[in-house]
Symmetry: C2
Subunit: 425 residues, 2 copies
């Protein structure tokens, strides 16, 4: 039995999306599973491996529900275009580089190192369409100790020659790749990843639906991000009533044995939201990307009111930052602009709510993840925020809010995923 | 004669708001004044103090046109309210603490240290209404080597008892404080700072107008930030045609011998913009604050089209970050949302334009500042961005854009203001 306990100021959210604070308390872990939070260390734990982190903050690890690993190389550049032009000019040419395994080796090393050192413990990741580079990425992620889903991207139309498959080869590659990787790693799983409807023919989508049924693999894609994209999809899939319905047509929009993440949902209407709720689809809210690519602001308050499942995504390189702290504050800031400029009936998001989205909200995609409840997997991040010192007396809740906005001056000192300590070097 | 030259990749903007890049070039400084940029070091400079910064980036120092020093203590907290409630609940109670000089000493030390270590070389700063604490702040800023304007705030209505003056005492204190400090420092100047119209009676504003005429002191305040505030001002000053007109009524809205910064201008209409242009008022665009306090998005593209003078402000603690890099990218991001959600005729801001606003735009308030032109004051910041390494081949322009978004992973290695080296420790 592997037992350890960490002491500090423990922050998590409850099911009502409220922050719970346990000052100077212990969180216990046995064989990777959390045994709860205790003010006093239970007598029978006195011989466990004990670490007192003093005044530091302990939070559940963050879950990044949407990030493009091959785009990490150009994050923070090419911020002058809308989605569809941005894909053609920046995303597609760069992703084509991952045909070169030597380039992939360099680029993915940096991505995985930075993700490992961040406050993120779990992620659902888009790779490129190249199977060898995708497997390389999976190997690197496996070695990092993080728990991730990784998608070989499918795309057989509306992309440049250097980044396009045939429907047949894309499906065959995907089937083989899933067979070869679904049981190969402990922490890393394949996920079916049609780039988005405009990139995938009906023929390919049909095959992916069949592959999904065969392997019961999870699915991730993009939906209702940008008005031009939505219009295009309605033309490409005249059989669909709305964008999400096009995925659903091929059995790739949630439902039993088809755990699905859909990124963005900036313009998801009532029908799309209803279907997401019925099918249990997770929404990856990516506020920074939605600003950078000028998409708009997703109605997250509406998603919450409607009982939808919402997590956060960095969406690098639509987003420039891999930090989920940044995604949290961007979600708050953009919700305020939405309230002011679009719909004053939808109130701004609170720090409690975005913390929930970053932990429990996205965590539920990975299982019992995102809080220090007994029986949950033990993902924890320990943060030294002493550089944020202020002479003002502030509450612990304020201290946490401050950390979210000023995280860049704080330091991650320890981190574990399912109880396994992560190397932060 | 004090002569030095720095070599690196030099970035600045021209008057057309376009970035100019000088790779591996020298920028020369003689007695605090820039002597221009040279690809080869002129023969007669061989004996000057030479520093080759290699692959590093050299930019003009940033100008922060709007920041509240006493609010630095609570930046990143209290982000749940709109402007007027936010002032009552967070800003006013905290500013009242600066009656205590011991508290001011602690708080202002942190503020000045962080500003000194940042990429900002000049700033126009709100203090609190307390003269002793304001003078303490001025002394600390003077010692830092940064060049700043500092305002003792005036407020004699609509604020709590602990943070309100009488019109008479406020005017008398201001007149005496200006007399005592206008020639006391080399780098630090007083600036007349009526908090905003709702905080100042007509009697006080009349006196401040007279004091301004007497000393020819610069002026700073807030205008047209929030719809409720604007409505309130129209009620408080029924003689005014619009918000800015209320300041103008008292001679505190620019014009000859009355250099003025107005922060926000989120809702400045045609008349207000016209008057700002006539009076030569500088606009401090504070995008992060405008999101955090849910004000909205200023029509900066319109300001540029109309030939107004625009600089950037961090507006701590409406803004949580003191970084003008952050203000630059926030300005871009919010301009995209404005384009998408409010007015598609106003195109998003470019990285070139926000760099101009951060340097030349705000710099012109301080004189010949914000570029490495011959005859300009030599404000320079040297940045090591090697931690932003990417295997992708990127242009120098992309490298600069990337620095703006990912500045937190870059390191400032040297900095000077009017040729004087700043201690970064």
């Amino acid at each position: 039995m592997n037992r350890f306990a960490w002491k500090g100021h423990i922050f998590q959210t409850n099911d009502d999306m409220k922050i719970e604070i346990f000052e100077n308390s212990w969180v216990l872990c046995e064989d990777g599973i959390c045994k709860g939070i205790f003010k006093e260390l239970p007598e029978e734990w006195k011989n466990a491996e004990l670490t007192d982190f003093g005044d530091k903050i302990i939070i559940p690890g963050f879950c990044d529900l949407h990030v493009h690993a091959p785009q990490y190389t150009y994050r923070g550049t090419g911020m002058d275009l809308e989605l569809l032009d941005w894909l053609q000019k920046y995303a597609f040419p760069e992703e084509a580089s991952y045909a070169d395994l030597e380039y992939a080796e360099k680029a993915y090393s940096i991505f995985v190192t930075d993700l490992r050192r961040s406050a993120t413990t779990r992620a659902s990741i888009f790779a490129s369409l190249h199977v060898p580079a995708t497997e390389l990425l999976m190997e690197k992620l496996e070695a990092s100790g993080l728990k991730t889903y990784v998608g070989k991207v499918n795309m057989d139309r509306n992309s440049p020659d250097i980044l396009r498959e045939t429907a047949e080869s894309s499906a065959a590659d995907t089937d083989r790749w899933i067979s070869e990787t679904e049981n190969r790693f402990e922490n890393t799983k394949p996920i079916i990843t049609p780039r988005f409807i405009p990139s995938c023919t009906d023929e390919l989508m049909t095959s992916l639906g069949e592959i999904q049924k065969k392997h019961k693999t999870a699915v991730q894609s993009h939906v209702s991000e940008n008005p031009s994209e939505i219009k295009w999809v309605s033309e490409l899939c005249p059989f669909s009533d709305f964008y999400g319905d096009a995925y659903d047509h091929f059995g790739l929009f949630g439902g039993e044995n088809c755990k699905t993440i859909m990124a963005h949902c900036v313009y998801s209407d009532e029908r799309e939201q209803k279907l997401m709720k019925e099918r249990g689809v997770w929404i990856a809210h990516c506020p920074q990307s939605n600003m950078n690519v000028a998409s708009g602001i997703a109605p997250v308050r509406e998603f919450i009111n409607n009982g939808l499942k919402v997590g956060l995504g960095s969406d690098v390189a639509g987003g420039s930052s891999l930090s989920i702290f940044r995604a949290m504050t961007d979600a708050i800031m953009s919700s305020k602009l939405r309230w002011r400029l679009v719909d004053p009936s939808l109130h701004q998001l609170s720090v409690d709510e975005v913390f929930h989205m970053a932990t429990r909200g996205g965590g539920s995609f990975f299982g019992k993840v995102g809080a220090f409840e007994e029986g949950f997997e033990m993902d924890a991040v320990v943060i030294d925020d002493s550089a944020l010192y202020t002479p003002k007396k502030i509450s612990m809740h304020d201290r946490f809010e401050r950390l979210c906005y000023l995280y860049k001056d704080a330091k991650i000192v320890s981190k574990c995923v399912s109880g396994r300590k992560i190397d932060l070097g």
